[in-house]
Symmetry: none
Subunit: 421 residues, 2 copies
Amino acid sequence: MSETNAAEVISVGTELLLGEILNTNAQFLAQELAQLGIPHYYQTVVGDNVLRLQKAVAIGCERSRCLIFTGGLGPTPDDLTTAALADFFQTPLIEHPEILADIEAKFARRGRIMSPSNRKQALLPQGAEILPNPTGSAPGMIWQPRPGLTILTFPGVPSEMQVMWRETAVPYLRQQGWGQGVIYSRTLRFWGIGESNLAEKVVTQLRSTNPTVAPYAGKGEVRLRISAQAPTEAEAIALIEPMQQEIVSLTGTDYYGMDHDSLASVVGTLLKQARQTVAVAESCTGGGLGAYLTHVSGSSAYFRGGVISYDNQVKVDLLGVREIDLAEQGAVSDPVSQQMAAGVRERLKADWGLSITGIAGPDGGTDTKPVGLVYLGIAAPNGQVESFCYQFGARDREFIRWLSLCTVLDLLRRKLLAAND
Amino acid sequence: MSETNAAEVISVGTELLLGEILNTNAQFLAQELAQLGIPHYYQTVVGDNVLRLQKAVAIGCERSRCLIFTGGLGPTPDDLTTAALADFFQTPLIEHPEILADIEAKFARRGRIMSPSNRKQALLPQGAEILPNPTGSAPGMIWQPRPGLTILTFPGVPSEMQVMWRETAVPYLRQQGWGQGVIYSRTLRFWGIGESNLAEKVVTQLRSTNPTVAPYAGKGEVRLRISAQAPTEAEAIALIEPMQQEIVSLTGTDYYGMDHDSLASVVGTLLKQARQTVAVAESCTGGGLGAYLTHVSGSSAYFRGGVISYDNQVKVDLLGVREIDLAEQGAVSDPVSQQMAAGVRERLKADWGLSITGIAGPDGGTDTKPVGLVYLGIAAPNGQVESFCYQFGARDREFIRWLSLCTVLDLLRRKLLAAND
């Protein structure tokens, strides 16, 4: 019944079912399993309850050959993973004096005395090996309760779990023949094209089996993930690279970067290559564009600064926007966005000036200027000024602000690319 | 077999099994189910694979009476949640012209043409109702494929899912008699006090059983969550409020707000009450303080704007910082932070001026000015200017920036509170 060599992550903790904490352990283990090339088809979250935990174990044994547990190893009564597993496989618990001594020593080093409740952390099912926990009190275990089934347990504290995983579990799994190959992925990032339009351009590539290509959308951008399975990382990369080149050439300038690239980092690289600088004039984004650009370490090489002209008087006083245009056209208009971009470029002595003025909502919209209406301005090194009008729709305020600042960066990116041609 | 009225969250997406994204949707739904008082014992994550998804459905039907799916509603071939569910329950898919028209209209508003692949998003199993998606293209569904089993589907994009959950799913579930009792929580937020110090001040309250009080720390602040279980929300609130008052009086001005309050929104409320305005001068935060203040809708009532003086020349030209102080003391110094605060207050005609100048790293630190050193300036309505030096340590760049802007807002908050006394 079980799929060959699949591992399953079972996270134990009522705090997860109450949404009190995010399940970052499951994400960490998922990434690690992918890197090791260990197939991983299911994750389960279950509370601190013996019967439900045992039901999850019964299901896991049917479909996976390695069950990886996080949580429920602490000293309190609601920590019951070890006992529930021993009971499920009808195996007695044995006290390990070496665990007890280790916990006592750890308490002593912090000038504290071990409490009686910690004693239960020294119990493991007969036949299980200790999975040492160098940084916390509770060790985990490595156990084969029956042939062809491996159980690993970890505490729920992410830092402890990660050290135990890397120092003991990974070498153990490799030695047992798990994860001969690797799954390696790269994510290509696109701006200015929708998911369905992108999918149509790469319809052939989406059918590929190794590497696979899968589209994702979120935060206004579309991504294509290329994943290859191969004996080594180098061989996986060799499968990915021709596919990446194929996709990049099919999609042109809608492709902007990969993996940890952002529009801010890509624009920064292009500005450095061109030895040019940029300054920003922001109204509805309130400084978000500057914050995004300076999220990139080293951005002082090309970012001069900006003016947050939230109030109209600031637009006039600090950017030289004409009062008559504010009065007649309104702050959210072509002439004002152009004067903001030109003004900030000139007054901050930058090569490029960018501006954003719009209605981020939820209030402040009118029939002619609804929520989501944004004007983006761009002043070029030769003094030419343009503006572009976008209608992002009545979305969440923060999302409209995010789309605005990404879109104006994308405009600059395309201009910088065109100048390179 | 199924536990009475339990709901189960089934998250669909290979990107989750590869660890590419964190399952924030499961946390959101867990919190919401807890608030509604709907029991929730299991969560499952499964990839974009019809057979495994159907196996997860089979297991879910056995143990839960409401299955809540996120993910797999997009237009691409690996989006298969709807089709897999229809197939599992042997129900034909029906095309809904009203969904198609809605998707077409949404594309048109963005000046784009719907692609043929979006057509599949208009298919729902016979008998299923549309769960409208106001902000994205793919709707979800509400379906009772057999008596006593409810299925809800949502797209994986968190912002879309959350709107759909709140606007349609919650009223539907309430109307169907789900969630008889409630668990109601309030989160109290603190700035300027550590978790252990706070815990010592409220040691008695932490022992309470209904409501419970639990401390959490993260993003530089400490929170206390007060949770009460009761037949109705009103009764739960009646349990919470005396506890809240007790804690607030024990903790004084370190308590700054509750639930969705932020330092930015609390400062905004105090400024509005005082009929005062603020302007910001930002160096290492690059606009982040302005962006945070204007995250609050209606902030134009008290936020005038700011200057992002990333380059030193901008500090001189736009804020009047003295070149000799920049040369002799450096940009990260008391006099520069004071001149930035005074300059932005004066030139933007605000009552208060705030400034931030520091070394956010990871590069740029020296022995005398290490990464994490930040000067915060504050210019008051009476013209008095102060600066404060913080050493946040060699942390992550984004965290140093975040601590900087929260700390300067907290300084202003305490000054506004003191002025009220």
